[in-house]
Every structure is written in structure tokens, then in C-alpha cells.
């Protein structure tokens, strides 16, 4: 996006001085226009028809304009102290480009939804004009030298405040996005979020946050979980979004388990969903469902352990013979295993073998969990806010996810994690240095399976029924896609990837038919332009860019800072 419409340097030299007033004027127009009515039709895109009562999209436009004003004032004006750190020119460039895209899409959206450009009110045109002015101004500003962001220290409370504010913005952003019913509004919201994120990144906000998060890791983790725990409170007892959120968490926990196998040990596993399925089937057959085929009804804490151990054992059994093959062969063997699992569950219906799974009918009517007096099926109240069935499971799944992340992180930073990296780097040398290559691969396989088993046991109760067709190859592929998209071997990246891959299809129903095609396209583009994923693990980034000396030097600087901090 940066490269769009670069202005010849001569023009910049002649008109550069006009950039600042033009930019401010553009931002002012954008705000003014957003306060006016955008459309005649109150039915479209939320209500944008009343002046001085901005609807959702108008508030977004105002937020974009305010961000632009902050960046402009950081160049010249009361906020220049920000300007010495932030690369305002790059930030403005990106922000203005996306703002223009946002406004253009608004015009298109109104025209499409309300039937014709005639429905676009003058306010919207004013805003569009403002966006154009801002865009032109952003092309005329020149980058200035900035100071090293590592030296930008704020008092401790201020850094924590920044973290809290960003987390709160994330929480409200997500809650808002989930409640949006209109596909256009959601799409525009995503453009808005991208504009803010890219503008901030280009201006250096993200790298500064990186430095802060190194200093305040504990606060950041606490804040993230606090936000995640607060999320159901924003839903007012509605189950619509919470059921999606619970699915996202199951998916994220499974993806994180697979991340141990793929991201850390570097093994390609295409049948991972089978382990989730194994956990779910154990959870179902040991539940108190009337259709459960095993008479033993232990408490859930035992069930989840049995499910995890069963999956882990399955992982060991599959892994022992197959982990002796490498790369592509392993992928094919695991792919086969995934299918074998599904067909086995399909056929254990009493006709072809013992009746364990009721074949294609699966095991329905799995009752809700009950911990003591706490029934997961009932609505509970916290501070007067109702928390429905899926909210209850959401909390349980959040605890599971936290556990999975902890296992992932601690394994990654331990002796075992070092062994995995060594295996990925040079298997022969690792072996010659005494690393137990086979054992460590098997461990990755088994621990990934173990965690998937735990997730599966809970998933059985969330879903109420377990059938073989929930565990098809496509699900394995999606899990893998979440990891590749988000960033192999990272925690934040894989969570992000899982949310994107699970949430977007749910919310953007209108492209449900094309979702496989779009994901395929997305993955191809990712592989071409950013193979290390959205959030890059330092090590993976180095592995994908063997030739990039500059990157290696930069990473070294980061390591040094981390060691000191």
C-alpha cells in the first residue's frame, strides 16, 4: 500500500509546506462530514441519516480523522515530542490510503444497499472530500529521522495504562464486530481496524509496543486474560455470539496443540483432527448420555484425563512407526491416519464390529457438565449480567486454553524446546550432539495429541453430540492453515490465525460458498509475501529468510535487549 502513487520529489519540494495545513483541513472536513447525515435511507448500514448523531461507521471515520490529526500535530504543533519517536510520514501515508479506501467503500456500500448514488447525502461527500485532501497531503509529507524507540521510556503506570487502553479497545472492537449483523458494516469495520493497525505500525507504535511488552510481559498476559474473561459480560446473556466464541476457543486450543507438533518440532501432521476426535469420542462414551456405549460414568475430571491419555497413547502408537520417515512421507502417513480414524468411528456401529460409536449417527444427547452445584446448562448471573450456557463453557475452555498455552510456552523455552529447534536446524548435527531426535519428535507428537484429547472431551459437551463427520480432513487442513497464517511457533499468531479462520466464515456468511477458494488464495499469497505468518516468530523469520543479513542483525539486537530486560 505504501507504494501507491508516489509523488515525484520535485513536487514534494515545491508543495511540501502545504501538506500540513491541507492535512488538517482534510481531517477537519472528514470529521465535519461525519457529523452530518450520510444517507437518506435509515435502513442501511445502521442508521446514518441523522445529523449530529453519528452512527457506527461515522464514529469510525471520526476516529480515523482524529488519529490523522494526532500524527499531523506530532509533526508540527503541540505534540512534537511524539514526532521525535514516531515516523509520522509513513504512518500518515498508510492511514490516509486506508481512510480513502474506507470512505470510497462507504459510498459504494450506500449506493449498493440503498439503490443508487442518489441516496448518498452531502455529509458523506464532504467526508470523502476530506479523505481525498488527507490522502493528497499524506503524499506530500517527507519522512524524518526518528530516535530509537527502545529509548522511549514512559513511567511504569503509563505503560500499564497504554496496555489497558489497547486491551479495552480490542475487547470493545471484538464485541462490536460480533454484534454487527450487516456484512457491509463488518467489512468496513475490518477496513477501519486495518487502517488503525497499519497506520500505527508504520508510525512505529507496534515496535514501541514490542519494547514495552518485553518490559511488562506479566502485566500484558494478565491484561489479555482479563479481557478474555470480560468478553462474555459484553454479550448480555445472548448465546448467538458466545456459541461462536466457544467454537473459536476449541479451535484455538487444538491449533495451539498442533503448533507444538508443527511449529516447534517442525513435523507436518495432516491428521491432527483425529486426536481431537478421539478425545471427543472418549468424552461422549464416558458421559451420562443415554446413547453412551460404556457403562462406566466417572466424574468429568477423570474423563478429561482418560480422553487426554487415550489421545496421547494414540499419538504414541501412530508416532512410533511413522516418525522414522521424514517430511512429505510423514504428512501422507498422518493424512492416512486421520481418515482411518474417521472411518473406524464410522464403522464401529454394531454391524461391522462392536457397537461403540453408533456409526454415522454418532452419540447424541450428551448432557451438560455439572461441577458440584454448577450446572453448565443453566444461566448464571455475575454482577447482574446473565451468563448463558455457552458463556459457562467459554470460561471452562478459556482455562483449558490458558493451560495449553502454558504447556506450549514452557516446553518451548525448556531444554526440550532447544532440542526441537536444533532438530529443525540440522537433524544430523543435533543427533551428533547427543539430542534424542526420535524421542523428542515422539514427545511433540504425543503431547500435541494429549492436549487435543483434553479439548475434545470438552468439545463433546459443548456440541452436545459427536459424529464422525465433524472430524474430516478439511478440519485438519484448517487447523494447519490457522498456524501457517498466524505464524508457526508463536502464541499470539496462532491465536490470531484461529480467530480469523473460525470467526470470519461465521460472520461473513455471504462468502460462505467461496470460503475455501478465498482461504486457498490467502494462503498462497501468504506463502509468497510473508511465509513466516502474520505474527512472526523470531526464529522462524530467520529460517525463512536465510539470506537476509539485515534481519539477522536486527534480531540480534532484539535478543540483546531481551537479555538485559
Amino acid at each position: 500500500m505504501m507504494k501507491i502513487l508516489t509523488v515525484p520529489p520535485g513536487v514534494v519540494a515545491r508543495h511540501g509546506s502545504k501538506a500540513w495545513p491541507l492535512g488538517l483541513a482534510g481531517a477537519g472536513l472528514l470529521i465535519l462530514g461525519s457529523l452530518l447525515s450520510w444517507s437518506y435511507d435509515p435502513q442501511v448500514l445502521g442508521d446514518l441519516s441523522i445529523s449530529f448523531n453519528p452512527g457506527g461507521l461515522q464514529i469510525m471515520a471520526i476516529a480515523l480523522a482524529l488519529f490523522a490529526v494526532i500524527l499531523l500535530l506530532a509533526r508540527k504543533g503541540p505534540l512534537t515530542f511524539l514526532g521525535q519517536w514516531a515516523d509520522t510520514a509513513k504512518g500518515l501515508n498508510a492511514l490516509a490510503t486506508w481512510t480513502l479506501l474506507f470512505m470510497a467503500m462507504v459510498v459504494v456500500a450506500i449506493a449498493v444497499e440503498a439503490g443508487g448514488l442518489i441516496n448518498v447525502q452531502p455529509g458523506c461527500w464532504v467526508s470523502l472530500l476530506g479523505a481525498v485532501a488527507l490522502f493528497v497531503a499524506s503524499r506530500l509529507v517527507v519522512s524524518r529521522k526518528t530516535r530509537d524507540l527502545a529509548e522511549a521510556l514512559l513511567p511504569g503506570w503509563a505503560e500499564i495504562l497504554v496496555i489497558v487502553v489497547i486491551m479495552a479497545a480490542l475487547l470493545f472492537g471484538t464485541a462490536y464486530a460480533l454484534n454487527v449483523a450487516d456484512g457491509w458494516v463488518l467489512l468496513l469495520f475490518l477496513v477501519f481496524a486495518t487502517a488503525m493497525a497499519i497506520g500505527g505500525t508504520r508510525a512505529g507504535l507496534m515496535s514501541w509496543l514490542g519494547h514495552v511488552s518485553l518490559r511488562r510481559r506479566r502485566e500484558l498476559i494478565l491484561a489479555s486474560f482479563a479481557v478474555a474473561f470480560c468478553f462474555p459480560l459484553t454479550q448480555g446473556g445472548s448465546d448467538a455470539n458466545m456459541s461462536i466464541a466457544a467454537q473459536v476457543l476449541v479451535f484455538a486450543a487444538a491449533a495451539m496443540g498442533l503448533n507444538i507438533v508443527v511449529g516447534l518440532a517442525g513435523l507436518l501432521d495432516l491428521g491432527y483432527i483425529a486426536f481431537l476426535g478421539a478425545g471427543a469420542y472418549v468424552g461422549a462414551t464416558l458421559s451420562t448420555s443415554g446413547f453412551a456405549t460404556i457403562g462406566w460414568k466417572p466424574p468429568f475430571i477423570v474423563v478429561i484425563l482418560v480422553a487426554a491419555c487415550f489421545s496421547g497413547m494414540l499419538g504414541l502408537i501412530i508416532g512410533t512407526p511413522t516418525l522414522r520417515v521424514n517430511g512429505d512421507y510423514l504428512a501422507i502417513v498422518t493424512l492416512g491416519f486421520g481418515e482411518i480414524f474417521r472411518l473406524t468411528m464410522f464403522n464401529l456401529d454394531g454391524n461391522n464390529g462392536p457397537d461403540l460409536t453408533h456409526g454415522p449417527n454418532g452419540i447424541p444427547a450428551i448432557p451438560d457438565l455439572i461441577f458440584g452445584n454448577f450446572n453448565f446448562g443453566d444461566t448464571h448471573y455475575l454482577l447482574g449480567i446473565p451468563l448463558s450456557r455457552f458463556s459457562n463453557y467459554y470460561f471452562l475452555l478459556l482455562i483449558l486454553l490458558a493451560f495449553v498455552i502454558m504447556v506450549f510456552h514452557r516446553l518451548n523455552t525448556s531444554r526440550i524446546g532447544r532440542g526441537w529447534v536444533a532438530i529443525r536446524e540440522d537433524e544430523k548435527a543435533a543427533e551428533a550432539m547427543g539430542v534424542n531426535v526420535f524421542g523428542l519428535k515422539l514427545l511433540a507428537f504425543a503431547s500435541g495429541a494429549f492436549l487435543a484429547g483434553m479439548a475434545g472431551a470438552i468439545k463433546a459437551h459443548v456440541d452436545v453430540s459427536v459424529t464422525p463427520d465433524q472430524y474430516v480432513f478439511l478440519e485438519s487442513a484448517f487447523l494447519l492453515a490457522a498456524i501457517v497464517l498466524g505464524g508457526m511457533g508463536t502464541i499470539v499468531g496462532v491465536l490470531l490465525g484461529a480467530v480469523i479462520l473460525k470467526l470470519l466464515p461465521e460472520k461473513l456468511r455471504f462468502f460462505a460458498d467461496y470460503r475455501l477458494m478465498l482461504f486457498g488464495l490467502l494462503l498462497v499469497l501468504m506463502m509468497r509475501f510473508r511465509p513466516e505468518g502474520l505474527v512472526a516468530s523470531r526464529r522462524r523469520q530467520l529460517e525463512f529468510h536465510e539470506e537476509d543479513e539485515e534481519l539477522a542483525v536486527r534480531v540480534e539486537g532484539d535478543i540483546a535487549e531481551e537479555v538485559q530486560g
Binding site: 525448556s414 540440522d426 547427543g434 526464529r539 530467520l542
Partner: protein, 295 residues
């Protein structure tokens, strides 16, 4: 053949030698890369392994360290037979470096050495996840020992540097530090000064003396004759996979056959040329084998 065995037994003390390789033979299909080579290494000794290109030096190293399973022959460390598994060999106390440096390029110097500690530490999955006091103590010890070894080889200041960013000479040192981290009794160095300038070469021989002074035995493959003859207590010369001579540097240096192997006699030209091509063939074949084994 007989000569070499005699020399070996003559210089060995009455006790069990540290490393004893008996009649090690390695065949790749019809090609015999190493033919009945025997070698003993005593405690605190520096042994040089020389020979023209393709003589089978590296293949012999691979047989000793379990990367290859020798077709025939035995390798004993402190009198105990070594299984042909790299991990078991390291566990038993023999570590190596590689001819073409094989560091973990995207790990820092410290992490590289910490990987070397792997076989001397024991915390597994559950301990690592629980983060108990034992785990923390062991991690701290690993880190401290790795730092100590980096200081020992003279890389104390480059702890947090990525291996791939380090200069060539330092990468060689780092590989030695990583090998030392496995607490070996014997270190095998495959061409530790290849591509180094004279100053770096001198530093390398200082380092090898320093390692010997800590009580370890060292076996060095090298082409630099001055380096080898200054450094080693004994030298073994391999030619076309067979032992030509074992002896003190002076003996080897003055042996006409060694000179012939390196320079040629220049009289019976036809014969010699053929042999040269042969040995080149060896080289190619062994390299091809190397590459095949590397995934």
C-alpha cells in the same frame, strides 16, 4: 598393516587405551572407503589424522562417531564397545566437530552450547512444564556451564550473537565449545583450521593445547602439515583408506611413503596417475555418500 599395529601397541601404555578402533572397514557398495584401519588414542594425547584428499579420513571419523555403521570392525571407548549410534557415542564421552561447520545457525552462541549440554541434563516434559526447583537449578547450571565454555574458547563476549552472524573463525570455536559441552573424554576435530589465516591457525592450536591440558584427548584431521606436526603427539597417515604409518611427527615427516602419497615419485608416472584418479574417485564417492545421508 603390520607396521601400524606394532606402532600402535608399542606406544600404548599397559592400561586400556581411551579409544581403540580395531580393523574398521567401511564399504559403500563395491567401494572400500576405509580398509581395516586400527587406531588407539591414549588419555591426554593429541593424535593427528592426515592423508591426501579422499583418503577416507572423514569417513573414518563418521565410523568412529556412529554416523556410519562400519561394515566390519569394532570401536571401543575405555574398553566398552560403542554402538553405531551418534547419541550413544556422545553419551559415552566422544564428541566431534564437522568439516563443513554444522552449527545451529539461527540460534545464539549460548543456545548452541546449551544444546550440547542436552545429553548431560535430564529434565523431561513434565518437569519442564511444572517449572520446579530442580528444573530451574538444572537450567541455571546449563546456562552457567555454557557461558563458562564460551569463555574457555574465547567467545565470552559473543554469547548473544546468532551463530550465522559470527565470523568464520569464531564459528569454528563455537563448534568446539558445543562439542566440549557434552563433557567428552575425547574430542574429534574435523579440519578445525580449514580456511583460517595464519594468526587464526595459531590461535586454534593454542586452543587445542588448552583443551588437552584440561585432561581430554584430541584427534585432529588436518591438511596443514606444519600445524599438525607442531601440535600432535602422534600422527596417523591414511592413504586410499588404508593406514600408511603411525608414529611421532618426526617419523611420519621423514617417511618416504608419506612424501610419495602427497607429492608422488614422479618416475613411474602411468601407474601413479591412475592411482591419483582412483583416489579422486574415492573422494567423490564419499562426498556423495555424505550428501545422501544429509536430508
Amino acid at each position: 598393516m603390520t607396521l601400524s599395529t606394532e606402532a600402535a601397541t608399542a606406544s600404548a601404555p599397559a592400561t586400556v587405551p581411551l579409544l581403540q578402533a580395531d580393523d574398521v572397514t567401511m564399504r559403500f557398495g563395491g567401494l572400500t572407503a576405509v580398509n581395516k584401519v586400527s587406531m588407539t588414542v591414549n588419555e591426554g594425547e593429541i593424535l593427528g589424522l592426515i592423508g591426501p584428499n579422499g583418503a577416507g579420513k572423514t569417513t573414518f571419523f563418521n565410523c568412529l562417531t556412529g554416523l556410519y555403521k562400519p561394515t566390519e570392525g569394532h570401536v571401543r571407548l575405555c574398553g566398552v564397545e560403542l554402538p553405531p549410534k551418534p547419541r550413544a557415542v556422545v553419551q559415552a564421552g566422544m564428541a566431534r566437530t564437522f568439516q563443513n561447520i554444522r552449527l545451529f545457525a539461527n540460534m545464539t552462541a549460548l543456545e548452541n552450547v546449551m544444546v550440547g549440554r542436552y545429553c548431560r541434563t535430564s529434565s523431561m516434559a513434565i518437569t519442564s512444564i511444572l517449572h520446579g526447583p530442580k528444573y530451574r537449578r538444572e537450567e541455571a547450571e546449563t546456562r552457567a556451564r555454557a557461558q563458562e565454555l564460551l569463555d574457555f574458547v574465547g567467545l565470552g563476549d559473543s554469547t548473544e550473537h546468532l551463530a550465522r552472524n559470527m565470523p568464520y573463525g569464531n564459528q569454528r570455536r563455537l563448534e568446539i565449545a558445543r562439542a566440549l559441552a557434552t563433557d567428552p573424554k575425547l574430542v574429534l576435530l574435523d579440519e578445525p583450521t580449514a580456511g583460517m589465516n595464519p594468526l587464526e591457525t595459531r590461535q586454534a592450536s593454542d586452543l587445542i593445547f588448552k583443551i588437552r591440558d584440561t585432561g581430554l584427548a584430541v584427534v585432529v584431521i588436518e591438511h596443514d602439515m606444519r600445524f599438525i606436526f607442531n601440535l600432535c603427539d602422534r600422527v596417523l597417515c591414511l592413504v586410499r583408506g588404508e593406514t600408511l604409518i603411525v608414529g611421532t611427527p618426526n617419523e611420519v615427516q621423514s617417511d618416504p611413503r608419506v612424501i610419495e602419497a602427497y607429492i608422488g615419485t614422479g618416475i613411474d608416472d602411468d601407474d601413479d596417475d591412475d592411482d591419483d584418479q582412483d583416489s579422486d574417485g574415492h573422494d567423490g564417492a564419499t562426498n556423495a555418500q555424505d550428501e545422501q545421508d544429509t536430508p
